[in-house]
Assembly symmetry: C2
Homo-oligomer: 194 residues x 2
């Protein structure tokens, strides 16, 4: 089966989101990122603000706190409910149309489909730091902190819900170092493989 869906996982500051958006534009297919927050909020009954803060990044306190987070009588935490709503939204999107989906463990959620190409975008410290400083108007130290914090939370969320290792090559069809290859080259490779 030809590929219809591209999932993009990425390190913070690697330009993965930008690359994914460009690829979607150039291929003329749908692009899903923060624009699915409202749908997840509706399905989970939680506010869009809460979902935005928690859907991909929880927990703030690390895996241990996560595993022992407050749970309701069915054993589900609020994080679990957000995750379940997110899972359903992503499954429905993949069914609906060819698209690029950024983050949100979509590679794992769609693992039973054979029309998905999973991409991981990473980069080198100096280039990632520079990008974060420009985009968020912060200094070097603040950029380094944002990077460490965001990637740690993405990794914890991924490892907890997928029982796989975030950033391990075996989970992805393609892994690209955007600092070494450049954004244009990354886009070109992804489009060629689609």
């Amino acid at each position: 089966m030809t590929k219809r869906i591209i999932t993009i996982s990425r390190e913070f500051g690697s330009g993965g989101r930008f690359i994914g958006e460009e690829v979607a534009k150039k291929l003329g297919i749908a692009y899903y990122d923060k624009n699915i927050i409202n749908e997840i909020a509706e399905k989970s009954g939680l506010s869009p603000e809460y979902v935005l803060e928690n859907a991909e990044l929880s927990p703030k306190k690390g895996l241990f706190a996560y595993a022992f987070a407050g749970r309701d009588m069915t054993g589900k935490s609020v994080e679990d409910m957000v995750y379940e709503a997110q899972r359903k939204v992503i499954l429905a999107l993949a069914e609906k149309e060819p698209c690029v989906i950024i983050g949100r463990n979509a590679d794992y959620i769609l693992k039973d489909r054979d029309d998905v190409m999973n991409v991981f975008i990473h980069g080198d410290m100096p280039e990632k730091t520079q990008r974060i400083m420009c985009l968020h108007n912060v200094g070097t130290q603040e950029a380094a902190k944002m990077m460490a914090d965001t990637d740690k939370r993405r990794m914890t969320n991924y490892n907890f819900y997928t029982e796989q290792k975030w950033g391990y090559a075996g989970n992805y069809t393609l892994c690209l170092n955007s600092s070494r290859l450049g954004y244009d080259r990354c886009e070109k490779i992804i489009m060629e493989c689609y």
Copy 2:
């Protein structure tokens, strides 16, 4: 600086060696794999047979045994001597000419050069098993055992000497799933990025 060296790390059965050899042929550059065994043997004072068995794959017994292997008065084990000889040979090759180097932690050994592109080739179980069965004339179970054993030894060797994780995307410029992308596509991507 433009890239001169391509290192290829690979899962057993993923076709990484084949892909590397084809890339070297097509680019018209040198190809180093088992053909450097004699040089490593000469430098380390050990037999080529011993180097072949141990240079990339030691230890058979896992990391714990490795760390506590018999050491001489300088604290060096025989494995360390092989590794040191291998390191010197790889540094000299990279200095000499543009080339493809297969395995042997070359990505890490050459980490201080900025003209190196590091590639990791991996694949899916069914395709890797099939390839091993054909190449080594063995059954499914034996192929699975060879794969698990070889990759475990490669991983242990890599993790021990580099203090990085084998197969973790961040160590490589490009990671490619050869089962999903096909060997031709992998070769094409590597050559485009060179």
